[in-house]
């Protein structure tokens, strides 16, 4: 547990951002693409960032809603946390064609497969 603190102590003390949790997510594969579905309730389209950096695909989703000052919480079950999903993608994904869609708290990422790895038929000559 302390490994993170040892590795990068500044990141923990200086910028203390809101805690982020990994959203519930699912990955499916078809012949053409991988599909990542993640549950990010309470996140507005404007508060969603998707980054691709080499092999890393990172989704950061901020909960935009905050209760008005005069409201008092009587009972809470949801955390005051943002969502952060970090996935590794390999050479099979066509990075240029990644698409993200957010509908009613469900984020759908479509990661099309690179042409080189799509199944193809090889004609036999002769």
């Amino acid at each position: 547990m302390n490994t993170l603190a040892k590795k990068d102590p500044q990141a923990l003390t200086q910028t203390a951002p809101r805690r982020a949790v990994v959203p519930l997510y699912n990955v499916e594969e078809t012949a053409d693409a991988f599909t990542v579905t993640a549950f990010v309730p309470g996140v507005d389209r404007s508060a969603l960032e998707t980054h691709v950096d080499g092999e890393n695909l990172t989704v950061f989703a901020r909960r935009t809603w905050t209760p008005p000052a005069e409201w008092t919480a009587v009972y809470r079950e949801t955390p005051n946390a943002d969502y952060r999903l970090a996935l590794e993608i390999d050479h099979r994904v066509n990075r240029e064609a990644i698409k993200a869609e957010l509908t009613q708290g469900v984020l759908t990422l479509t990661l099309p497969k690179a042409e080189a790895v799509k199944p193809r038929r090889i004609e036999i000559k002769g």
């Binding site: 519930l24 990010v40 309470g42 009587v74 079950e77 009613q104 708290g105 469900v106």
Partner: protein, 156 residues
């Protein structure tokens, strides 16, 4: 289904400490039993039956229930009040697009329900509900205090 008992006592304010502790416990469980938590995750997207997280707030005019119900359509969600209990139910059937899958897995069904017992001083006719970004917000206005009226008595 779980029933949340509404507490009016000012001593009972778990809101400040409770989520933190619970998250901490969840995290401990995730670390200690990773297989268990991943199992829970896998089940989540299948025929998801069960509950969803709910928050309760109040201000001087109303109580507000916020329920996290991602991925439903507005018409799939119903909220009703009966005998002082608010019941939120969401039911959705999704047809999987790919025809390659076996018929058994072609439809996914999600049914979730949650009941919350309400305090008594509410205007049940003025309840409003809105669904945005996968969060259902139910606003339950408090009843106007019965104001003392002056009654003029004619002395004959």
């Amino acid at each position: 289904m779980k029933l949340i008992r509404y507490q009016t006592s000012p001593l009972f304010s778990p809101a400040a400490s409770y989520p933190g502790l619970r998250d901490e416990m969840d995290r401990l469980f995730d670390v200690a039993f990773p297989a268990l938590s991943s199992l829970q995750r896998d089940g989540f997207f299948g025929d998801w039956q069960g509950e969803f997280p709910v928050d309760l707030y109040q201000d001087k005019d109303a109580f507000t229930v916020r329920a996290e119900l991602p991925g439903f359509r507005k018409e799939d969600i119903s909220a009703e009040v009966a005998d002082g209990i608010l019941t939120i139910t969401a039911h959705q059937k999704t047809e999987t697009k790919s025809a390659a899958k076996a018929p058994a897995t072609a439809t996914q069904e999600r049914r979730v329900s949650r009941s919350i017992s309400l305090p008594e001083n509410l205007e049940l006719e003025k309840i409003q509900a809105a669904y945005e970004n996968g969060v259902l917000t139910v606003t339950l206005p408090k009843r106007e205090e019965v104001k003392p009226k002056q009654i003029a008595i004619e002395v004959k």
